[in-house]
Amino acid sequence: MIKNVIIAGVGGQGVVTAGLLMSEAATENGINVVMSEIHGLAQRGGSVSVDVRMGDVYGSIVPKGGADIIIGFEPIETVRALSRAGRETLVIMNTEKKTPISLSMHDKEYPPMEQLLKIAPDGMVIHQIDAVSLAKEAGNYRSVNTVILGAALALGVLPFSRENAMSALKRRFSGGLYEVNARALDLGIEEIKGQRNIA
């Protein structure tokens, strides 16, 4: 069993922490994990991506076309990561837009969602999620990454359970912060379940 995950977003959004939480949840379930993080020059505001590979793997780089899930923290970055998607790849996208300065500076609008999503091949299902609202509902804007982790978990292809994820949260957060993140995880799970019922 090998599960490949790509997490993409913007520096400062908690992309690396999301990768860590996922890795810890999988190791909690006794699964081998390797993770690779690319956060080059910028402290904040640049593109950041993390590869998480679970199971019988050696290298930490998800092969092009080999991602089981792409988790995007931001629409443009999600679509950028699609260049590494395959036909079977599931996609979750947080709808929170972060306008790159290359646009805002030149009075250019953030591309409309329909135009962005047109880049994706026909038939690819992209689950959209307003993780910011759900994180705020859970009690903290900064728990966006836990909401998204919950959403990924609800797709049913990650090799660990909600309980594994909860114990990963417990190890990382304590007290009130754990409570907020536990709520955030469940809100993410419920959101995707709801979407699936609609479909």
Binding site: V10, G11, G12, L20, S23, E24, T27, N32, V33, V34, M35, S36, E37, I38, G40, L41, A42, Q43, R44, G45, G46, S47, D56, V57, Y58, G59, S60, I61, P63, K64, G65, G66, I76, E77, V79, R80, L82, S83, A85, G86, R87, E88, T99, P100, I101, S102, L103, S104, M105, H106, D107, K108, E109, P111, L116, I119, A120, P121, Y141, R171
Partner: protein
């Protein structure tokens, strides 16, 4: 729980999910290292971030040295006093350290000394992708290359054993994907050993005068000859066989990981000679391997380091083995390997069907997201002020000489204030030189940490040779780009203890600079005045723009609950677009003809509210 503390408290056989660099930090502890030194550089920085937290408790002396040359000299001083030492840096740092390295290889040491170079194939955060394995060959020192987080820790201990066997420093080479890979690591024992060294004076032993060095070189060559037999039986070099093992593959480092994914996926019939001890190479082992296979493929990133030697061995032993690699064009000479490219290269030799990529998605139309200066970054204000001052001074063709650090991002639109950028400290050396051969005004930028790293000598050179240069020292009170490490301008050292800080003003003054001004870049008016004045000045001027890094300030403001943000009063806004187009903070954007400040990322620096950015005074503090 703090994972860094776990690195110290973790018991033998306990397993932790560790970054390669964190595993190396644990390896340092398990190897009984007593002195560790560095100048921070990605992808090696996290080793230092761990040591900064736990060095004292671990009984290690840890130093953020002024540069890699000094870091190497300090580590050497420990190793000749009988205490194990570890010095780590990014690949280009090795160029700075090369001067002492070449000679300490000659003199040798008295306790284990390991020098880590974290190379950066594909240049995720570097100016080039040099393959530092070549340094091991040039210096005649042993070379060890781990592949995984587990090996990153375990091989380090082995490297110290090799170092002590022949009392020669060992080069420990990782790459970005090894240093920045996370994996499960089983911990080992932490030894108890002595904490104070002693330097017994043996006349001439460490004096690299020609009369001595002649003998040193011969001894060094003999050491490496003897280490050949160690390499032959080293557990770091092993053969793994898959299927019928028909094709031979020789590999090392991260290339092994990527290769193995292809071997498993396509069920290839190969035997893999995985090399971890790569200088001196196990020649008998390799020639036997060549003899056992009709076709041998060399899979390694960057330079054909192994390939050249393997081809040489085949020639020396008159072997007919067909060898495939970079030199004959089967693999790329540039950039890191990935599972797809390695499988594609292998399939040209082994003949198997690689999977067709199922979809080709064109993302070329997506707006780019280059790294940007953070919201609230004081450098943005400095770049803004310098550009305006240049314009106000009617200078048409300024030359901006830039340097390595966050402020390298001044290269981007709309600042465009980096015409040349080569290496640490080059802004002053190159800028000073250009001013001698052109009549253009040269403005050099350097950060505070970089100023100490290698700006000092450049400044001395520029003053003495009467260059005509404005040096902007962007002093944000930290080494920001690599993650907020201290440097000699800060009243804190690598052990987290109070330390005497060096004054950039006093240094410039003592070097003979006449025009020295220190400004707060958040105060645009005084910054503009200081820069304009300097631009009128002949000779070397120094303007120090001092304001702490926004990330440091954020932490403080959160703790003190003094966080504030700004918003645009749309009734006052004249839509002149200056804030958006020229100041260009990521928090400021225009949406539907209205200028907006994103409250989630506004850092509250308030520079955009100054009349020099907003002449309409439309940007106001959120009450």
């Amino acid at each position: 729980m703090n994972k860094f503390k776990q690195l110290l408290s973790g018991k033998p056989s306990e397993k932790l999910f560790l970054l390669g660099n964190e595993a190396i930090a644990r390896g340092i502890i398990e190897a009984g290292v007593k002195t560790a030194t560095t100048y921070p550089g990605t992808p090696s920085s996290e080793v230092g971030n761990v040591l900064y937290e736990i060095a004292k408790e671990a009984g290690i002396y840890f130093q953020y040295s002024i540069n890699e040359k000094i870091a190497t000299e300090v580590a050497f001083s420990s190793a000749i006093s009988g205490l194990r030492s570890f010095v780590f840096m990014k690949h280009v740092g090795m160029n700075v350290a090369a001067d002492p390295l070449m000679s300490i290889a000659y003199t040798g040491i008295r306790a284990g000394m390991v020098i880590m170079s974290a190379d950066d194939p594909s240049m995720f955060s570097s100016q080039n992708e040099q393959d530092n394995r070549n340094y091991a060959e040039m210096a005649h020192i042993p070379l060890v290359e781990p592949s995984t987080s587990q090996e990153a820790k375990d091989f380090l201990k082995y490297a110290f054993e090799i170092s002590e066997k022949e009392l020669v420093p060992v080069l420990y080479r990782t790459t970005t994907r090894v240093s920045h890979q996370r994996g499960m690591v089983e911990l080992g024992e932490i030894p108890q050993n002595k904490t104070k060294g002693y330097f017994p004076n043996e006349p001439g032993r460490y004096v690299a005068l020609p009369v001595n060095s002649m003998g040193f070189k011969e001894k060094l060559v003999k050491k490496m000859e003897r280490l050949k037999s160690v390499s032959e039986t080293s557990p770091l070099n092993r053969i793994e066989t898959y299927g019928s093992g028909k094709y031979g593959i020789i590999t090392s480092g991260e290339a092994y990981n990527v290769l193995m994914d292809a071997v498993r996926k396509y069920r290839l019939d190969v035997s893999v000679l995985k090399l971890g001890f790569t200088n001196p190479l196990p020649e008998s082992m390799i020639t036997k391997f060549l003899n056992d296979h009709g076709d041998v493929i060399i899979v390694e990133e960057l330079d054909p380091f192994l390939e050249t030697k393997v081809r040489m061995m085949a020639q020396m032993h008159s072997l007919n083995t067909r060898i495939y690699g970079k030199i004959d064009g089967f693999f790329s000479m540039s950039h890191e390997y990935n599972p797809v490219t390695v499988a594609a290269s292998l399939s040209k030799i082994i003949k198997f069907e690689t999977e067709k990529l199922p979809v080709e998605i064109d993302i070329s139309e997506l707006p780019p997201r280059p790294p940007v200066l953070c919201p609230g970054c004081p450098h943005r204000a400095t770049y803004y002020a310098v550009k305006r001052a240049v314009k106000m001074s009617n200078i048409k063709d300024p030359i901006y000489s830039s340097d390595i650090g966050c402020y390298s991002l001044g290269v981007y639109d709309p600042y465009d204030e980096a015409d040349i950028m080569i290496e640490m400290g080059s802004s002053i050396g190159v800028g000073g030189g250009i001013s001698k051969v052109t009549n253009q005004k040269v403005i050099a930028f350097i950060g505070d940490s970089t100023f100490f790293h290698s700006g000092l000598t450049g400044l001395a050179n520029a003053v003495h040779n009467e260059s005509n240069l404005l040096l902007m020292v962007l002093d944000n009170r930290t080494t920001a780009m690599t993650g907020q490490q201290p440097h000699p301008g800060i009243e804190l050292n690598g052990m987290g203890e109070p330390a005497p800080a060096l004054s950039i003003e006093a240094i410039a003054q003592s070097m003979g600079v006449k025009y020295i001004k220190t400004v707060d870049p958040y105060d645009l008016k005084s910054t503009l005045l200081a820069v304009s004045g300097a631009l009128k000045n002949e000779g070397v001027s120094v303007v120090i723009a001092r304001r702490e890094c926004a990330i440091l300030r954020d932490n403080e403001m959160r703790a003190k609950k003094t966080w504030k943000t700004y918003q645009v009063n749309t009734e006052k806004c004249g839509l002149c677009m200056n804030c958006v187009e020229n100041f260009s903070c990521p928090a400021i954007s225009i949406k539907g003809g209205v200028i907006n400040i994103d409250q989630d990322i506004c850092d509250g620096c308030g520079v955009c509210a100054e009349t020099y950015v907003c002449p309409f005074r439309a940007i106001e503090e959120v009450q």
